[in-house]
Amino acid sequence: MTTPTIPVPARTLASPFHWVRRIPMYILVLLFCIVTAFPVYWMTLSVFQPIEYSLTYPPPLFPQAISFDVFQEIFSGQDTAQRVDVWIFNSIILASMTTVICLGLSILGAFALSGKRWRGQGMFGLLLLMTQMLPEALIVIPLYATIDKLKMKDSLLTLALVDTAFVLPICIWILKNVFDTIPNEIRDAALVDGCNRMKMLWKIMLPISAPGLVAVGVVAFFHAWNEYLFAASLIGNRHLYTASVGLGSMISMIDTPIDKLMAGGLMFSIFPVIFYLMVQRYIVAGLSAGAVKG
């Protein structure tokens, strides 16, 4: 984490005599870090200090006392359907399934869009763009009706399929741009060597595009982890609640104290954050979308 993963162009290295000129930059970096980190710090603080400190004004900026009681409560409720660990387990399953399905389909889609133009390619791109633009609230009723008729309700797999539909277009777009950065010579060489195109995709393009695949995986994972509207309507079985629905049910409970809510929120956030920090180094390389125009 401490070594830069991407070589920095020489031009960004300022002359050592001009470090003073860099002070505004440090201030800006610090400012950004405070703006992004403070809310997270504040949430953590509200979780670990007894609730009475949070309900005073002015609130203390640093912890006055530490208490772990709230975790006892959210992890060991008697009602197993109302436990944060159960929700998170379901969310991990859901997000993993979504990631896998989405990766598979976006590889196909990106490969179709990258490379030689074909009749209808524009329409295909437009279709993807269109589906990306539809708000979930607009289709939840008809979709629910269809899924109910198919008896596919109360299944995390169904939910993963639905979530994929909404995140697939952007994933295809990211991956297409990654594929586009692969020089034609490389594809060409593989084809001349007698690979068919699917084999070339599998043996040559995917290994080169590994960071792009990671980026797509992260986008899909976050989407499924985050999604609320479909998760709420398609999962009626309380034992299959995902973390977003579980937390939503906690918010609505008229007796949920703020520390418990914050603890739930913190737990809900920890997994995507850890996941993100783990793969962070690949992301920039993977999102090289703009490297190609359009």
Binding site: M43, A137, L138, I139, F222, N226, S288
Partner: protein, 305 residues
């Protein structure tokens, strides 16, 4: 282009190439089942009157659209949506650009700073709302403390309960969560700009600002445009964050089209009217996207000539 055509020719000869179709087919089927069919059902629904539990579904033609056009709250939602879109696009893409320029500098602790600066991207919507509701609580929120350090005010601001503050606040929060993504994308482009370009600019005696203007900017403008489109789409679809934070209020000042759709369908049980607003919103955002795409293509053509 020519080289690529040659390659493809050598691979598949002159016969029609079916591979792209076979690759695209599963995706088309998939999106048809999960999105297109439901949306067509909604389109049909927008031509009916459907008050659940009150009267049977009946065909009303364009009556819903008629009602919508004279509904001042629909136009309010349209305005709010555009303000929200414009606001988040400017703030999130702008902050993303600045963050990317910062992250592209070489300094001690750069990777740690990068991790911290992009952290909000990993934060789910619900906890984000929870944190900010608490920080901006008019009675106990820590933001009151900070504001009163800086501004000479006697009373805590009303934050999300203030008709003038609510929308800017929602924009800020949406941008807080969204800017890291745009920052990371921009960073990836910045890092792909050949350093020779900067060296050449330096030789020509360009200042840092000039080299940004004449080297960096032309390289990243297409990306910024694309992200503008994406940010518009994401902002248009933004629901949970707004709905949980303000519920569209106070006094409908944060009621975007998506919130209005949801409220019409699920709070007023007027499904057909919800579908109508949704369709109109969809058409509007589609038009905006096409406009962006057109501008981008023209800009590309200019760059090419």
């Amino acid at each position: 282009m020519a080289a690529q055509a040659a390659i493809n020719k050598s691979a598949s000869g002159r016969r029609r190439d079916y591979l792209p179709y076979m690759l695209a087919l599963p995706i088309i089927l998939y999106e048809t089942i999960f999105i297109l069919i439901p949306i067509v059902q909604q389109l049909v629904s927008s031509f009916t009157s459907d008050m659940f539990g009150i009267s049977a579904v009946k065909w009303v033609g364009l009556a819903n659209y008629d009602r919508m056009l004279s509904d001042k709250y629909f136009w309010n939602s349209m305005r709010v949506t555009l303000s929200f879109m414009g606001g988040t696009v400017i703030v999130a893409v702008g902050a993303g650009l600045i963050a990317a320029l910062l992250m592209n500098q070489n300094f001690r602790g750069r990777s740690v700073a990068r991790a911290i600066m992009t952290l909000p991207w990993a934060f789910p919507d619900l906890p984000t709302v929870l944190i900010f509701m608490w920080i901006f609580n008019p009675s106990f929120g820590v933001m009151n403390l900070f504001v009163r350090w800086i501004l000479p005010i006697e009373q805590n601001p009303k934050w999300m309960m203030d008709i003038n503050l609510a929308l800017p606040l929602v924009i800020m929060i949406a941008a807080w969560k969204a800017f890291p993504f745009y920052g990371l994308v921009t960073l990836s482009v910045l890092q792909s700009i050949p350093s020779e370009l900067y060296e050449a600019a330096k030789v020509d005696g360009a200042t840092r600002l000039q080299s940004f203007r004449y080297v960096t900017l032309p390289e990243i403008i297409p990306t910024l445009m694309l992200m503008g489109v994406l940010a518009c789409i994401f902002a248009f679809r933004q629901f949970a964050l707004i709905f949980l934070f303000t519920g569209g209020g106070p006094a409908r000042t944060t009621e975007t089209l998506v919130v209005a759709v949801y409220k019409a369908a699920f709070n007023s049980f007027d499904f057909s009217y919800g579908a109508t607003i949704g369709m109109a919103g969809f058409v509007a955002v589609f038009a905006i996207t096409l406009l962006f795409a057109y501008l981008q293509r023209r800009q590309e053509a200019e760059a090419a000539s």
